[in-house]
């Protein structure tokens, strides 16, 4: 591997790419390349990040065309000496690589991502078996990075679509044996821009950095709506 790469950054002001030559090591991440360009060449590059460890969900962007977390993508795992970074699709751009999350958060709030977990009268706590936990636990790993929404083809055309992120979270709570709001939540996503607009392209699950499978969650939710699960 060369010890420099060419970094191409999409700039919103010119609607074109700026190019930088960046020194890299085996462990250098794409986020570190962008920050190098920002610190050494052009401090006006706008990029959002925080934890640098795939936990906060801030640094989503398209890296060589694929929605990815910049802090979780090593240069050495990209099979190219040229790395092109662009803002995520299906999100309004604030500047350069930073996008607005309003729609994602609004849809996330809409599906009631919390539990009515009043314990049963007979006991002071909920008992949940490992099998019951298994039904939803992978969906609890979502960090709201928005990569799935960026990859979703329905999000690109339907501006009112709830989106894979929020639908996967709806499943996370619907499948939780402690929750009592299942029917309310199913009613919310059962509209003309809700769960039925997913065409099962599966691109959401391909890009999720946390191993969540939103496409599967959506199909499982449909099982509840068609009366195949309870």
């Amino acid at each position: 591997m060369n010890n420099t790469i060419k970094l191409r950054v999409k700039r919103s002001a010119t609607d074109d790419f700026d190019e930088f030559t960046i020194p890299v090591q085996k462990w250098t991440t794409v986020l570190e390349c962008i920050l190098h360009a920002k610190h050494q060449f052009d401090h006006s590059i706008a990029v959002r990040y925080s934890c640098r460890q795939a936990t906060c969900g801030s640094c989503g962007m398209k890296i060589n065309g694929k929605p990815s977390l910049a802090c979780f993508t090593k240069v050495s795992e990209i099979d190219s000496d040229t790395i092109t970074v662009e803002p995520m699709s299906n999100f309004p751009i604030i500047r350069d690589l930073a996008v607005k999350f309003d729609r994602l958060f609004e849809n996330h709030r809409k599906v009631m991502p919390y539990m009515d977990n009043t314990p049963p009268e007979s006991s002071r706590m909920h008992i949940q078996s490992p099998a019951e936990l298994d039904k939803f636990i992978q969906f609890a790993n979502c960090i709201k990075c928005g990569l799935c929404n960026s990859a979703c083809p329905t999000m690109a055309t339907d501006t009112s679509f709830t989106g894979p992120q929020a639908l996967a979270q709806a499943y996370r709570y619907v499948a939780d044996s402690r929750d009592k709001d299942k029917d309310k939540r199913l009613r919310i996503i059962d509209d003309s821009h809700g769960i039925w607009r997913c065409h099962f392209a599966g691109s959401c699950s391909q890009v999720c950095p946390k191993g969540v499978d939103p496409a599967m969650g959506i199909q499982l939710l449909r099982g509840y709506m068609l009366g195949l699960s309870d």
């Binding site: 055309t157 059962d190 769960i195 039925w196 607009r197 068609l226």
Partner: protein, 124 residues
């Protein structure tokens, strides 16, 4: 009008989609029966005018065609509604698409039924 209003506003999307999937499954089964009946006649012969007309005049077969027409109209126009809703959004647009598709569906069923009935009664 009240019925139309109920159809457009009161039906949950899951009910509409159950109908959508149900009509698709039923149509696949009935169209298979329809094709098998054409095959029984010998495919080319079966498309001759006199044979087609004779089929329409056989009431159970005319009934089968009528049911296929209804199933495919419901399925097809709901499919069109879904495509149009994904192409563009907005309250009045979505209302127009829903009413338009119901009107198109009723129109197609009426026109197709008229043809079936006329052929069945020997008016063609």
């Amino acid at each position: 009008m009240a019925l139309l209003y109920c159809l457009v506003y009161d039906m949950r999307e899951s009910h509409i989609m159950k109908i959508h999937y149900g009509t698709a499954l039923a149509a696949v089964g009935l169209v298979a029966v329809h094709i098998l009946m054409r095959m029984a006649d010998g495919y080319h012969q079966s498309l001759e005018f006199a044979n087609v007309l004779a089929n329409y005049q056989f009431v159970p077969y005319a009934g089968l065609l009528e049911i296929i027409l209804i199933l495919l109209s419901i399925h097809g126009f709901n499919g069109l509604r879904v495509i149009l809703l994904e192409l563009h959004q907005g309250h009045s647009y979505e209302k127009a698409v829903s009413y338009g598709c119901i009107a198109g569906m009723i129109g197609l069923i009426a026109y197709g039924s008229r043809t079936i009935v006329m052929a069945n009664m020997g008016m063609i």
